[in-house]
């Protein structure tokens, strides 16, 4: 075989093996979406990827069973709020830690970093009482505050700091010479220049909030305040038995838009991860 032919054969084998590895990643999505169209009885029948009868009303029932649209909206707006707040605070603090020489900065950094080692499970109980004391049980306030200020927020701060440290300093010096205040430099120079890092932090933060499960489980009790992860595990009949067809239809509804957004933005997402300090 000549070199080019050999290369082609190699390429084909290579692609095939990638495809095989991809199956367990891809199949659940296909199966989930297809099952979302099946009736409650068909799900348990002979498995097949294509539903025998397409049960479109699953997707109607999802919204009738519980205030799913409302819950969907809750998840979106909470995730947005968490993302915006996290970006704001983490970039502020990250900027200061990276760029400003102030007494105690190094110590503060260490101090904050210690949070990365503490799982949320550890502090959830006292936070529960804190939220009770603040009178914000069964509201979305804890779901916004805890991610922003908890370990995840610290992680975001750290990532932003890493990125700012690597940014050329001269632009900021130029801003200083131009008469910008610190806040001005941060807002007008540092932030516009750190789009990749902001994007990366925004993505992880959004996902983090979007997928949050323990906190809503603990802090939210009324249906209309549910977020998606809770709602998804809540398609049960009044006695607690799961309504699989609805659950899977709802799961598809929850996952597909995110996947589409991801597909559209995937190049930027990977780039921003690559360009930001996420790599450590």
């Amino acid at each position: 075989m000549s070199q080019p032919q050999l290369a082609t054969v190699k390429r084909i084998c290579w692609m095939l093996s990638l495809v095989v590895v991809a199956i367990p990643f891809l199949f659940p999505f296909l199966w989930m979406i297809s099952s979302g169209f099946k009736g409650p009885t068909e799900i348990f029948g002979e498995p097949s990827l294509i539903p025998r009868t397409w049960r479109w009303q699953n997707f109607v029932e999802v919204f009738e069973y519980q205030p799913f649209a409302r819950q969907y909206f809750n998840s979106i707006y909470i995730a947005c709020a968490v993302t915006v707040l996290t970006l704001l605070l983490s970039s502020l603090a990250g900027y200061a830690l990276a760029r400003m020489r102030f007494a105690g900065a190094a110590l503060l950094m260490l101090f904050l970093m210690s949070a990365l080692m503490v799982p949320e499970e550890v502090t959830i109980v006292p936070n529960f009482f804190l939220m009770k004391w603040l009178g914000v049980m069964d509201t979305h306030v804890p779901l916004i505050l805890l991610p922003v200020f908890g370990p995840h927020g610290v992680m975001a701060t750290f990532l932003m700091r890493q990125y700012f440290v690597a940014l050329p300093k001269e632009l900021e010096d130029a801003g200083k010479m131009d008469g910008l205040s610190r806040a001005g430099i941060w807002w007008k120079i540092a932030l516009p220049m750190s789009r990749p890092a902001l994007a990366a932090v925004a993505i992880i933060t959004f996902l983090f909030s979007w997928n949050l499960f323990l906190e809503p489980l603990v802090f939210i009790s009324s249906l209309e305040n549910f977020t998606l992860p809770l709602a998804l595990s809540n398609f049960t009949d009044p006695y607690g038995a799961p309504l699989w067809h609805l659950q899977l239809a709802a799961t598809s509804l929850a996952v597909v838009p995110i996947l589409i957004v991801y597909l559209i933005a995937q190049r930027q997402i990977i780039e921003s991860f690559a360009m930001s300090g996420v790599k450590g």
């Binding site: 001269e170 010096d173 130029a174 801003g175 200083k176 010479m177």
Partner: protein, 349 residues
């Protein structure tokens, strides 16, 4: 009144003392260049003047205002950075107008001054481009434009040309010189390229390790360096320095007195290849580098380190050839054991 006065200025980063007491007076309109090897504190000193770096000790006066604790933007200076530091998300026009906008100048005024500066620098056609759409030289010019719109009393440049290629560097160097002649602002310019320093400066400040080694006009530094460091730093290729001991007998034979000097220096361009009769020093060519206009010879002289010799004649010696070198008394630099230049009576007299 844009004299600049520096008194015993010091700067420490933590325990590391980087600027160790600098005294300097820059006259109104003067073009002063800081040179020195990498890490000697040039940028730090400049940044202390600009206000970007705090001052650990000493005093800094701009005009008759002590500015130690004055914010950068309020010192009335403008700075051009090595990387140009153009805001990538703003157009050229916005970049140049940024400082004025921050200072809340009226839109008309900003427009007027940006246009004026753009005309001065021939940037008119580029005003609506983004920095990434500019060539290196154009960026450099925008960076200067941004500095001049603010009408600063003092210009600061930190290695503004080091990101350009050799050709462009020569060109922009001339432009900066022309600009200074036109505007006449007091200017402080940092570079590690001594050719740049020589060609631009009214006075050169040679820094080393946070201290000033010598201050003077380019000619003074070239002709009468205060010490070995300056002697070797100024001029290219650098001055050949060897222990007097190694060449004492040839020198004596030629009638040069060496006094108490322990080191002797000779610039490559001052060494002439001559006949054996006229020759003072004699050595073997180890390498001969053709440079077009001439060639650069590496000459091994017994007992001394390799001497570089610039030969502009067409009859280039080949490696292995024995050559004889001559120089005039005024081109011989003598230094004492500490590297300080020895007084040369012949010239003082």
């Amino acid at each position: 009144m844009t004299r600049l006065t520096v008194r015993n200025l010091t700067k420490s980063f933590g325990k590391l003392e980087v600027i160790r007491g600098i005294d300097l007076d820059v006259a109104d309109g003067e073009f002063v260049v800081f040179v020195g090897p990498s890490g000697c504190g040039k940028s730090t000193l400049l940044r202390m003047i600009s206000g970007l770096e705090t001052i650990s000790g000493g005093e800094l006066w701009i005009g008759d205002r002590k500015v130690n604790e004055v914010q950068a933007a309020k010192r009335g200076l403008a700075m051009v950075f090595q990387s140009y530091a153009l805001y990538p998300h703003l157009t050229v026009r916005q970049n140049m107008g940024f400082g004025l906008k921050v200072r809340k100048e009226s839109v008309d005024e900003i427009e007027r001054r940006v246009n004026e500066a753009a005309r001065t620098l021939q940037l008119d056609k580029l005003l609506d481009r983004y920095p990434r759409e500019l060539s290196g030289g154009q960026r450099q010019r925008v960076a200067i434009g941004r500095a001049i719109v603010g009408d600063p009393q003092v210009f600061l440049f930190d290695e503004p040309l080091s990101n350009l290629d050799a050709e462009l560097r020569v060109h922009m160097r001339a432009e900066i010189a022309a600009l200074h002649r036109r505007l006449g602002n007091t200017t402080i310019y940092v570079t590690h390229d001594q050719i740049e320093a020589m060609t631009l400066a009214d006075r050169i400040v040679v820094l080393r390790d946070g201290r000033i080694e010598q201050v003077g006009t380019p000619k003074e530094l070239y002709a009468r360096p205060d010490n070995v460091f300056v002697a070797q730093f100024i001029g290219s290729p650098k001055m050949n320095v060897c222990p007097v001991e190694a060449i004492r007998s040839p020198l004596q034979r030629a009638g040069f007195s060496t006094g108490g000097a322990t080191q002797a220096g000779l610039r490559p361009e001052h060494l002439r290849i001559v006949d054996e009769a006229e020759g003072i020093l004699c050595g073997r060519v180890s390498i001969s580098e053709y440079t077009g206009g001439g060639s650069l010879l590496h000459v091994e002289i017994e007992g001394a380190p390799v001497f570089l010799v610039e030969n502009s004649g067409d009859d280039t010696p080949q490696p292995g050839d024995i050559v004889h070198l001559a120089f005039s008394a005024s081109d011989l630099h003598l230094f004492d054991a500490e590297g300080r230049a020895c007084d040369r009576e012949p010239e003082l007299a």
